[in-house]
Symmetry: C2
Amino acid sequence: MNRYEKVFSTIESCEDAIVDYAVNLVRFPTTSGNEKGAQAYVKTIMTDLAFDPIDMWEPDIEKMHNHPAFISKRKDFKGSPNVVGILRGTGGGKSLILNSHIDIVPEGDPDQWHYPPFGGIVENGVIYGRGISDMKGTKAAIFGAIQALRKANIRVKGDITVQSVIEEETGSAGTLACALKGYQADAAIIPEPSGFKICPAQQGSSWFRIHVRGKSAHAGQRYLGVNAITKSTRVLTAIKTFEDHINKEYTSFLYKNVPIPFAINIGNIKGGEWPSTVPEHVVIEGRMGVPPGLSLNDAWEMFERWIKTETANETWLAENQPTVEWFGAHWGPAQIDPNHAIVKTATEAYSKVCETSPKIAGTPWATDGRILTEFADTPALVFGPGTSAHCPDEFMKIKDLICYAKILAAIIIDWCETDAL
Amino acid sequence: MNRYEKVFSTIESCEDAIVDYAVNLVRFPTTSGNEKGAQAYVKTIMTDLAFDPIDMWEPDIEKMHNHPAFISKRKDFKGSPNVVGILRGTGGGKSLILNSHIDIVPEGDPDQWHYPPFGGIVENGVIYGRGISDMKGTKAAIFGAIQALRKANIRVKGDITVQSVIEEETGSAGTLACALKGYQADAAIIPEPSGFKICPAQQGSSWFRIHVRGKSAHAGQRYLGVNAITKSTRVLTAIKTFEDHINKEYTSFLYKNVPIPFAINIGNIKGGEWPSTVPEHVVIEGRMGVPPGLSLNDAWEMFERWIKTETANETWLAENQPTVEWFGAHWGPAQIDPNHAIVKTATEAYSKVCETSPKIAGTPWATDGRILTEFADTPALVFGPGTSAHCPDEFMKIKDLICYAKILAAIIIDWCETDAL
């Protein structure tokens, strides 16, 4: 039995531990500001697995404000610690960062769930819950792989750094804090749910807020006013045609066969305040995907110009132009060389476990990988199991987690290197 | 100088008092639940003008719950008194109710106002402020007319009852409380801002709430979800075609030349909660106009069926039907005989003051008149100056108030009767 077979079989025997990690993590409702308990739990896992040092700290927002990639609406990160643990290698070998965020998006309408969002229910080999796929399941798989390597007595040369970070969903402040503390490595894996696709490119994204103005009047004489909700449907149409445009102009082999490579989502709408009054103001918020190769600034400028042009053929909107704000979170696109050694290592590890070739692609969303690639001198590859995220009944198959833990173990063995057998 | 000329000239000399009443009333921000101070002020005016009795009471919600016309979201009416004052006539003659509400709709976005909504600013002969037109200006005109009749030593035979009521904007509970206390008369005038049109008919209206469902997903893969905001635009279209339909089916000479006699307003919309998540739920609220001659129940049933039919040609909506609720306020339509004596009296009074014939029409909105007509045995006519309501820079021209006070005085003289000169 070679090293790989040994660790793979050990991972299979660790299945209960991996599921336990995953289920326990899901039961912490770690929306922004509520990560502390889960991170304390992560620290205990690291302690059990002999990580040393383990660094748990609340990032100092004052020290981050001036960084060009800093984004946050928070006043401070009190109660929201990062946890970084290092497993020192035996010396030599390449180092690796395994980065996963602990924060989750809100669970949405509980009525749309068949499982309690924070119940950590396991049924027919599937774990359900907010964050299981994005990305607590793979955090469990990371620890499963490391536990199995220990049990199989396989030590590697390079250092392994595990980062459990806050604030990914709101702009990457947690990973930025890691970068600013000096954490780096020869490569990083971001196990976001790419459906086992190996992603050297990740699209950027930016939140927008559009204000549409109307003119109020009494409902019964609505013809004396201008309905901002009705007018906003033209803006929705303009957003759609911009999405068509950007996907025609920016194409990449990494996004072939994707229905909408660079999607624009209308995330929420709010307007009017009284059923019997013609509404004078609508706010639309959403998320624009930004193709690798297009800067955020250029994307912003193109979008603003498009909305202006596409609504200018309507008299009221031409005179009362919708305004665009870029608020809250934005993430630039990023990519590493598709021929980078970490891509090759991940590809081979996948093939070893799955006995087939993986797909090489770009992500449909931004990740913390950009911060590592651009600001921590650590080329980051996005690669993880699962596909569901930000939806009711978010789930992860246990067999995919076990498979992914095996692939991670193989990546660690190959990238960080062991002594020859 | 005859009685009319005498009271008209007295009203002109009372202009400052009328403007004072109006400005003071506007300065009370009497949204639902906040009427107490303004009503206390109304009571002092009534006391000064020798109304007796004056009845100021907080309606007992327990006694109203079972009435078919009762609507309110409030738990009680603490802090929200009605005020009713009676000026006893000398005996004989016909009695008259003058009914105006003290509550206002919210002021909306203050940035859309050039004048402070509760400032009671007077500029170039115009009073600005929330509620001046709907309907504090005419409350001032009522008291102006009565003050002038006193000063001119004109006493009438019939009783005059002035009702200053709460909760008109939210369903007529204030006027219903007056009806349940037994207040009634031979006719009533509701001085809502009909633009000096004399309105024997008033349309009903009803608030609706429509839920549109989607399916959430991550923004970057929005094609895996169903966007409830995008789907809701089909519902907006269906509402518009229903408005077209109802205005084609229900016509009346009282609504000729009105751009949209029975308007349906989309009042507010709210959906989604996160820019990066495909929204799974949208709520649309609005107000449907109900033509006189159509019952509320029939209107509800027609609307619901229309929304269902018009969205059923879209696969998702056919399987996830939007649901309609009738929440909050609704007012049935109402009408009195266009040949009723009060219509004739008001028409003659208008002609006496304005030296031209008034327009006879139907209102674009519901009023408390329905409660008086249907539940207080008091045929109610809607007739008042001004047209602006529920909008920024709501205004009333002082000359229109003075003109209206004169018409009211003439109506009182003719309807309640004086002894022959």
